[in-house]
Amino acid sequence: MRRTTRRTASAFTALAVAASLALTGCGRDSGSEAGPGASKAISDAKASGTINVWAMGTEGEKLQDFVKDFESANPDATVKVTAVPWEAAHDKISAAIASGKTPDVSLIGTTWMGEFAKAGGLDPTPDGLVKDSDFYDGAWGSTVVGNTSYGVPWYVETRVLYYRTDLAKKAGWDKAPTTWDEFSKFAADLKKSGVKYPVSLQPGQTGSWQTVLPFAWSNGAKVTNGSGTEYSIDSPQMSEALNYYKSFFDKGYSQTRMLDPGELENGFAKGTYGSFISGPWHIGLVEDAGLTKDKYAVAPLPGKDSGPGTSFTGGGDLAVFKDAKNRDGAWKLVRWLSDAQTQSKWYDTVKDLPAVKSAWQSGDLAGDQQLQVFGRQLDSAEAPPAVPSWEQVASVIDGDVEKAVKGSVPTSDAVADMQKQAKSIGTGL
């Protein structure tokens, strides 16, 4: 018995020593990641061979039928779409990159671009494939990791102000506020006219950065330096924006607790909340809650001194993998999907807002006044920095926003803490 124990112990020691030797033996290369390889241009011939595509959500369900036009224009090519659930997508893609067994193309959430590009899984966008000026700036920005673009924006979303036009009218407002001063006045007037919470904002916690950063961007704050290699969160503009954001809670214009799913839409329909900031999916939710278009409207976010302010933009990009077996066909499919006409047709199919600007001038979208507001907002919208550590820094911002809003630390300290933690986390590039 005694001997067995001793033998096991020495076996463990040997293993541990071996493991530590193995680990010390292979450190990081000092000049790690020699930068992206040259992005070889793709040929002019028609696409051929099988193109494997992964797509999530509704896109995954509808894309297979949609690509029939591409297949008939390129008779030698077959597109095989695999639907992947959003919840599993991040891990599945990251495992595929790690093992080198990737599809050719995948839909990639804009906030994942930094991580996957840095892991060396994505192929840089070939020169001359598409014109980046055809896309909204914010959307294109989400594909750029360390000055190199690793994909093409597919669809976009942005945040605008939803408000109850009937309640606003009662408070003396027949248009939406366009500046910060007007927005505060708007909230005060609605409060006076009996709306319990005139503006529903998120009091920190998961995802609140998506509502806070637009105020900061509208005020001229930048989250990273010009080339996106270092965080620069701590600035007077950022503190001022956070102070302004906090004022809505201090004056009782917004609730201070996290709302449960469904609470916001129902409260908005009942008139508990006079306005809120959210993306295009809320049109459906608000109308499901019983509101009709004569009772509410959307408007661009208020700007600091003049509207519109700078909003948040997210969505999905299309990227081709380094390990793609059919790189040439894959990029051709991406080019086809980002063509203005295809984009407009894709909107008619799944209602994804097109990332290509000219696609907003045709089809169902051109006539939809409400959605055109989103289009105008997209002209001034920013994407969060495409760096691998963004999600972690975003959660730091969420935590500090909560501390500031609930008054446990002064806003300037909260902003300083964001920068301090972001700096120690690093961009991960």
Partner: protein, 314 residues
């Protein structure tokens, strides 16, 4: 194989010092062969990943290193030092400790009370047992969602009941001081069922003669409970304390569903923190946090064995 051994002379007396009985050796070989499938699976899927994660905790591996998992920097105990110096990690350690010291005694006391009560009654016994055990078999996420509605500030059942007697109930899950105790009460309610079953089994091993004898000697019900039932239940209590502690040290789902770790991180546990770090792709740091939690489990289990275990010297 059996043919060779059968032909061998079996003279165990001849060589006393270094002789190995062939039957025994054969048995040993057979044992290893039979154990091999398990051993291989264990080494590949259990021991391997455990050792790999231990190794990971000493490196700066991140999710972006997945294509080149060996080209990472060896950082020694830096991850551990970083964790211990991180104010958020200190906060989650404190929270986890609070879950433990509030949750374990409460759950055990409730389970013991339920077990002692159910041990006495015969009327509707099965119904009560099912009733107490039911929360254990329900989905933890479903239970958490329902409790979230019960504890809601406006329109929650609990505050509605309190309002009937004129008390203005607080926002249970939105207060930094009440959120954690609320979660503890909820998970005690959920977990007491399995402990109750274990305690019931323990109570039934106590011979009725002992209780009757003390009753004849004039001991009160409390004295009998304190000096007969509790000491005889000690091994069962130890087992209950150990498994309940391990459960509370790994507290996660309730907070994940009901509060998302808030308000102001007041319900965030070590497991929650680790989950977040894995999500951020900080595999090295997350592995280190897991090992610190593992260490805590070992320490608390050891302490409980020391204080609740059988006293040999008596």
């Amino acid at each position: 194989m059996s043919v060779t051994t059968a032909s061998r002379p079996t003279t165990p007396v001849a060589t006393t010092s270094r002789h190995v009985d062939p039957t025994r050796r054969q048995q040993a070989v057979a044992a290893w062969v039979l154990a091999l499938p398990f051993l291989v699976l264990f080494l590949v899927f259990t021991a391997g990943p455990v050792l790999a994660s231990l190794g990971m905790s000493f490196t700066d591996i991140r999710s972006t290193d997945m294509r080149t998992p060996f080209a990472v920097g060896f950082v020694g105990v830096e991850n551990y030092a970083k964790l211990l110096a991180d104010p958020l990690f200190q906060k989650v350690m404190l929270n986890t400790f609070l879950y433990l010291v509030l949750g374990v005694p409460l759950t055990m006391a409730l389970a013991l009370a339920a077990a002692v009560g159910l041990n006495r009654i015969t009327f509707l016994r099965g119904l009560f047992r099912v009733g107490y055990y039911l929360p254990v078999v329900t989905s933890i996420v479903a239970v958490s969602v329902v409790w979230k509605f019960l504890l809601r500030d406006e329109g929650g059942l609990l505050n509605a009941v309190l309002a009937l007697v004129g008390i203005n109930g607080p926002a249970w899950l939105d207060s930094t001081s009440l959120a954690l105790p609320s979660l503890v009460v909820m998970s005690s309610w959920r977990n007491l069922g399995s402990l109750m079953i274990i305690f019931l089994a323990g109570l039934q091993t106590i011979p009725t003669e002992v209780n009757e004898a003390t009753e004849v000697d004039g001991a009160s019900a409390w004295q009998r409970f304190r000096h007969v039932t509790l000491p005889m239940l000690r091994p069962t209590l130890l087992f209950g304390a150990v498994i309940t502690s391990i459960g509370y040290l790994q507290f996660f789902e309730e907070a994940f569903v009901m509060t998302k770790g808030g308000p102001l991180d007041s319900t965030r546990s070590v497991t929650f923190f680790t989950y977040d770090q894995f999500g951020f792709g900080n595999y090295g740091l997350a592995a280190a946090a897991s090992y610190l939690l593992f260490l805590a489990v070992v320490v608390f289990t050891f302490v409980q064995f020391r204080f609740l275990g059988e006293r040999r010297e008596k």
